[in-house]
């Protein structure tokens, strides 16, 4: 911790994780006191923010006490005693896991997902299960069956989604770290809209075991944080091969914080022209252009002569592949084994249809219907197979661009956070807010959103896309950028104002 910094738990809440960890190890504060201060702040913010579906104070205090014992014994890991929020798509055996759906109200998984098990082994302190769009299908957290989360910069606007609760609580200063999942942008888009960092790892970098499945070939669990070092710390804690997930890569996990300060002299950054073209809000374009100039000043070589000719197909490719996989994954919700169960119809099939009609929300039904249609006899070749072939084109173009560039840079989103309700009646308009993030899941690459300015008083994010399994390069660029800018240090005032007694 810096000299003269206030070591009280309240002051530590706004400090980065590495500073919290120093204070814990030095004995300046206990994990229990930090957990209590965190819970008090989160509770004060909840009426205005609604970032959580379930708070887990008893579990948090028990984990904090165990962390204090480890700290006293001197065998603490980097995340021991650090508060964290977990998207409610991730199974926890001791806390209700809803996936944001009425279908799973009260559901208690029989195991922890691997990433949560790893965090627990590291001594992290989970404070609650964060809100999300139902089954992670959405871009605003408005499709949660448990109510919308608000954007801490403007409580009348969405935090993005689907991991909106995770992003909002980190941005509001509730917790320094959170886990989300990203199938088409569900970490990067809310990170951008809330003014924090969020990273989608390479497909296969992080275990999906115990993560409630939506689109298995696209999704990854990843971290939210307020700086690049914290982002790397959390990624390092969850990454790596898992015998329980055969799609995890049998590759070693690097120390994601070791290389951060090396600088970006000579780093080749490509700007795909298709993703900095039409449809961008002017304020977003200005912020991204300014960031490009700052990266150039840091020694990066910016190349605007980069093209991804098929990237325009990303929206239809994604909205065929993801719903197709979802229609298969969500077939398991039949009212027999667990979850909501209708039992008032004339027979078994009626009960099953009613279970799924009442248990699923509109967007989930819409996607199951699209996917079922795309996979049905007579349409499979024209829709699903065609989408998989265009997926190959998109993937090849990214590979070619990244053969001659270390990173690709785009805006994370076409615009800033939109108003609650603004896109609810128009599914396609909602889908378009993920236009720049979808292609990265299609190609399976790692990418992060980094705060790079403000437009209309709302945060703007830029997306850094790396080569497969080269998350370290993204983190190094984010760290270098943060040495000459302070966007990541700006904090919203809306929640604090709303939480004040009138």
């Amino acid at each position: 911790m810096a000299d003269g910094a206030d070591p009280t738990p309240g002051a530590l809440l706004d400090a980065p994780v590495h500073e919290q960890a120093c204070a814990l190890r030095a004995g300046a504060v206990t994990a229990r006191a930090l957990a209590e201060a965190t819970l008090a702040r989160v509770r004060a913010q909840e009426p205005a923010l609604h970032a959580y579906i379930t708070l887990t104070p008893e579990l948090a205090l028990a984990a904090a006490e165990a962390a204090d014992q480890r700290l006293r014994r001197g065998d603490a890991a980097p995340l021991t005693g650090i508060p964290i929020a977990v998207k409610d798509l991730l199974s926890t055996c001791d806390a209700e896991t809803t996936a944001g759906s009425a279908m799973l109200r009260g559901f208690r998984p029989i195991v922890d997902c691997t990433v949560v098990a790893r965090l627990r082994a590291a001594g992290a302190v989970m404070v609650g299960k964060a809100n999300l769009d139902e089954f992670a299908m959405g871009s605003s957290t408005e499709y949660s069956a448990y109510g919308s989360t608000r954007n801490p910069w403007d409580l009348e606007r969405v935090p993005g989604g689907s991991s909106g609760g995770s992003a909002a609580t980190v941005a509001a200063g509730g917790v320094p770290l959170a886990l989300g999942t990203d199938t088409g942008g569900s970490i990067r888009q809310p990170a951008a809209l809330c003014g924090i960092l969020g990273l989608k790892p390479t497909y296969g970098r992080v275990s999906r075991f115990g993560v409630i499945a939506f689109a298995s070939s696209l999704e990854q669990v990843g971290p939210f944080a307020r700086d690049a070092e914290d982002l790397g710390l959390l990624l390092g804690a969850i990454a790596g091969h898992d015998p329980l997930d055969a799609t995890t890569a049998p590759l070693p996990v690097p120390d994601y914080t070791a290389d951060l300060a090396r600088g970006i002299e000579g780093l080749r950054v490509g700007v795909p022209r298709e993703l900095l073209g039409e449809g961008l809000e002017p304020g977003v374009r200005e912020a991204v252009e300014a960031a490009l100039a700052q990266l150039a000043a840091l020694g990066a070589r910016i190349d605007r002569d980069v093209s991804l000719p098929s990237v325009g197909a990303s929206l239809p490719v994604y909205y065929l592949i993801a719903p197709s996989e979802a229609s298969a994954n969500l077939a398991r919700y039949d009212g027999v084994k667990y979850g909501y169960s209708a039992h008032d119809g004339p027979g078994m099939w009626d009960d099953m249809e009613q279970t799924r009609d009442r248990g699923f929300g509109d967007e989930v039904k819409r996607r199951i219907m699209i996917g079922t249609y795309a996979l049905s006899a007579g349409y499979y070749d024209a829709y699903y197979l065609k989408a998989q072939k265009v997926r190959t084109l998109i993937r090849r173009e990214f590979e070619a661009a990244l053969a001659t560039h270390d990173l690709l840079l785009t805006p994370t989103t076409p615009g800033v956070a939109f108003r609650l309700g603004e896109k609810l009646g128009d599914p396609l308009a909602m889908y378009l807010s993920d236009l720049f993030t979808l292609p990265v899941n299609i190609a399976g690459l790692p990418a992060a959103s980094i705060p790079c300015g403000f437009a209309e008083g709302l945060p703007v994010g830029m997306q850094l896309i790396g080569r497969a399994f080269e998350e370290s390069t993204i983190l190094r660029a984010a760290h270098a950028y943060a040495t000459v800018t302070d966007w990541h240090l700006r904090r919203p005032g809306a929640v604090a104002a709303a939480a004040m007694p009138s």
Binding site: R108, I110, T247, M348, K365, R366, L385, L428, G444
Partner: protein
């Protein structure tokens, strides 16, 4: 690419989702718009292009066949909407 009413009901039946008439009407419009948008894929030449099912080129993954503890029936059945002893209870499948 407008879907007919009977197509919407057919898809709903395949997906085992019960719909009200109003829901079916709304879905018919929304799905038609979305399917219309998908037509843009036809502009991309994919002759001879193999499909991508997953992006990381792992081939068949095997693991050692070693027993390990499982959660146990009681824990699994604790979430069951209806049970009878150690079984899930369902209505008659064949009528």
């Amino acid at each position: 690419m407008a879907l007919s009413h009977s197509e919407v009901w057919h898809i709903a039946r395949l997906a085992r989702i019960g719909l009200s008439d109003a829901e079916a009407d709304r879905l018919r419009e929304q799905l038609s718009t979305i399917l219309e948008h998908f037509q843009s894929l036809n502009a991309y030449d994919t002759d001879g292009v193999p499909p991508t099912a997953q992006t990381f080129d792992l081939t068949t993954v095997e693991r050692a066949d070693e027993p390990r503890p499982t959660a146990g029936a009681e824990l699994v059945l604790a979430n069951a909407p209806r049970r009878e002893g150690d079984f899930l209870r369902v209505r008659a499948v064949l009528e």
